[in-house]
Amino acid sequence: MEDKLIQIATNVLGIKKENISLNSSREDIDEWDSLAHLNLISEIEEQFGVKIPFEEIHKIRKLSDFLKYVNKNKPL
């Protein structure tokens, strides 16, 4: 799941895998601008079948923040 998350991020942000980790934050990555943030959310929602509430869009600061939404849909 973590690998898939990083793969999505590298594709959306257009950066190399070695330049991003789950601990990477929006502040660390120039390519993670506000439009990229929306692309990232929509891609993660689609690929993991989750929905991130609108009010929480701005609370996502790190790639690892996505895990709490993704984990909700994790098969038992």
Binding site: E31, W32, D33, L35, L38, F54, I57, H58
Partner: protein, 180 residues
Amino acid sequence: MIYDNVLKGKFVNLRSVLTSDSEFILKLRLDENLNKYINKVDNDLEKQILWIKNQQKAENDYYFLIESIEGNPLGTISLYNIKNSEGEFGRWVSIGNSVQNLESVIILHDFGFYELGLDLIYSETVRENKKVLNFHKRFGATILNDFTEYNNFILQKAIIKKEGYKNIRKKNIELINYFS
């Protein structure tokens, strides 16, 4: 100039800045998380009020407050230096979320191209402000190797032409619609 109407979106509205917005704007521009790449202002409310009064008198200069649909102030955005069918997009400072920020930029470009009839809208961003330059690029602007110096900043120009805006708008509106 004061624009009498409200430019309406799904997540934000834009209306002309009033002197009563001075306190909010000053606070915004003094916020160290937001003001790294914008011209510094003094912490002086009277100066801010005077600046807005002068802006309101300036021809070809529109300065908008970005408000949430609920009417809460989120930031500012502007179309100014309008001449020869071109205008500059700037003074964009916002505490809104990414959807609100994106929509504010679409509304401003709609205003420039479709209401004012401009042929080109440009922005000048501090060269080191990679995040905003990346935003412009992702939005659909063409980033030029055209640099100017202003107030000890090196600025890089990005442009959007009217003929290309239809497709740019479509792509970005689709994203807005996704979140609505």
